[in-house]
Assembly symmetry: C2
Homo-oligomer: 334 residues x 2
Amino acid sequence: MVATREIHLASRPDGWPTEANFAVVDRDLPAPADGQALVRNVYMSVDPYMRPRMNDVKSYVPPFQVGEPLDGGAIGEVVESRVDGLAPGDLVLHRLGWREHALVDRPRRLEPIEGVPVSHYLGALGSTGLTAYVGLLEMASMREGDTVFVSGAAGAVGSIAGQIARLRGAARVVGSAGSAEKVALLTDKLGFDAAFDYRDGDLYRQLAAAAPDGIDVYFDNVGGDHLEAAITAMNDYGRVALCGSISQYNQAKPPPGPRNIGLAVGKRLTLRGFIVSDHASRFPEMARELGAWLAAGDLVAEETVVDGGLDAAVDAFLGMLRGANTGKMVVRMP
Amino acid sequence: MVATREIHLASRPDGWPTEANFAVVDRDLPAPADGQALVRNVYMSVDPYMRPRMNDVKSYVPPFQVGEPLDGGAIGEVVESRVDGLAPGDLVLHRLGWREHALVDRPRRLEPIEGVPVSHYLGALGSTGLTAYVGLLEMASMREGDTVFVSGAAGAVGSIAGQIARLRGAARVVGSAGSAEKVALLTDKLGFDAAFDYRDGDLYRQLAAAAPDGIDVYFDNVGGDHLEAAITAMNDYGRVALCGSISQYNQAKPPPGPRNIGLAVGKRLTLRGFIVSDHASRFPEMARELGAWLAAGDLVAEETVVDGGLDAAVDAFLGMLRGANTGKMVVRMP
C-alpha cells in the first residue's frame, strides 16, 4: 500500500478552464498484481488534446469523467515490480500521468539514450515527435521541394514538424507563433526559413509575405483563422494535415469555420484529420529516424520543463493552453 | 462565312445572376481552317460550375471575360469539315457551347449508341457521369458496405453518384434534394435507400434519421450547411469528395464555413477537392463502365431537356441554379 496523490477533473470547464475545474485527491494504491509495476512518476506530459477530453463529447477516446483522475503520457521509475525483467529503478513509459504513483499494466521499459534527456520520450521521441512525423509525411505526404507552413510552430508538435520538413527537403518552411521570442526561436534556432507572430494581425498578409509563392503543405495545430488563411495561400494539389485546433478548444460556442473551404475544389486540396495512435505499427521505424536526427544534432528537441511536481501540473497545463511553453511542456515530479 | 449567334457575358453577376448579365451577339464565322470543323450545335450543357467562372477569380480555369462568349460542353453536327475522316452530318463533342455554330479544333467524333440519346454524352456518359465516378470511387474511395450521402442528389452529378454507389455495393445510399418530387424521384426511380428535402429544415436531424448509423462517404455538391451536417454525421475514417458548392455560388459575401471542421481530427476524416479533367487518362475505362450500366438499364440517366435553342439558354442556366432541373440539364438547339 502506497499513499499517493492524483489530480481529478472536479467539473467540466465551460470555455477556458480554471484551477476550480481540478482537484488534488489523496489515494492509497495497493501492491502491484502479477504483470504490474508500481511506479513513481518522474515526468508527466501536459498536452493540448487533453482540453477537448474535458468536454462531455464522444471522440476517439472517451472523455475524462468528473470525479475521476485525468490521464496522459508519463515516465515512471519502478518502485516495485511484478513483471519479469523489470526491476526497481528502471524507467517505464506509460499513460497514467496526473498522479504521483501509478500501477502500470504491461509497462514499457525505457532505455535512456546517452546524452538525450529521458523526458524526450514524452516529446520528440514520443507521441509529440511521432505526431509531427505522421502528420507531415503520411497525412500531408510532404515531398522534397514543397513549401510547408506549420501553425503553432513553437509548440510541441509544430516545432518538430517544421524541422522534419527541413530535414526531408522542403524548399521553404514557414511557421506561425504567438510572440516575438517564439518567432526568433523558429528562425534562429530551429531552422525555419520564415516565421511570424499571428498576434500581429492579418494572417493572410503575413502568410503571403512569408510564402510569396504559396504553400504546398499546411500542418494545422491551430484551426480557426489559421486554417482559413492557409486554404487561401495553398497552391494547387495542396495538402493539409489536420492535427489539432488549439484556438478552438476553449471556445464555449462553435467558432466560425473556414469560409473559403469551397476553394478546395478548384485547388484540388486534400484535408486530412488523423490520430497518431492509428499508426503505431510504424512507430519503431519512425522513432529510429527521429532518434538519429536527435543524436546527430539535426533535430532540436525544444522543451519547457516545469518544476514543482503534481502541485504545479494544473498551472502548467493552463499555461500551455495560453502558450507559456516553447516546444514540449513536461512537469518534473520531484 | 456563316452568320451565327452566341451568348456573351455582358457584366459580372453580383450574387444571383440575371438576364441582364448576358447578351446575345451576332457574329460571322469564317470557313474552317485545316484541321477544323464548322459545326452547328445540337445540344449545349448548362452546369453549376459556370457560375463561379463568371466571377473575376483565378481558378483552375480562367474566368469568363466580360464582352466575350461563354463556353461549355456541347454536341455539334458537322456542317463543313477540314478534318480527315469527319464528314458533314457527323456528331462531335466539344467545349464551344453557348453559340449556334462553332469552329472546332481537333473535334472529337461521337459514335451514337443504339437506344441511348446522344445528349447523354453531355451527362451520364460525359463530364457529369465521369465527375460522379471520379469523386465517389477515386476521391472518396467508396467501398462495398459504405453508407453514402449525396447532396444535390437529384442534380446532374448527384443523380449519377448515388446510383454508382448502389451499383458498386454501398450498404445504404442517402440523398438530399430540394423538393418532394425530387425526393420521390430518388427513392422511387433512382434506387436511393432514403432521401429528404433539405428545405424541410434541420439538416442534422434529417440526415441522422436517413442514416441512423452515420455515413462513411459524403459526395458534396452543395457545400455550406450540407457539408457541416455531413461532417457531424460522419463515421470514423469517413471520406468527403468536395465536388462543388452550389449553395455558395450566388452569395455575394463569403458564407460561413463548417464550424465543426475540428471533428475531422478525432474522426480521421479526409476531405478532398477535385476537378474531373485531372483524371482524363482514365476516362475511356470509366466511360465503358458507365455505358455498360446504362445499356443494361442499371443506371438511369435522368435528364431535363430545354427546347428553344440559344434564346432559351440563359433562362435554362438561371433555372438550373435554382433547381429547376432533375438530372442533367441540356438545351436542345433547333
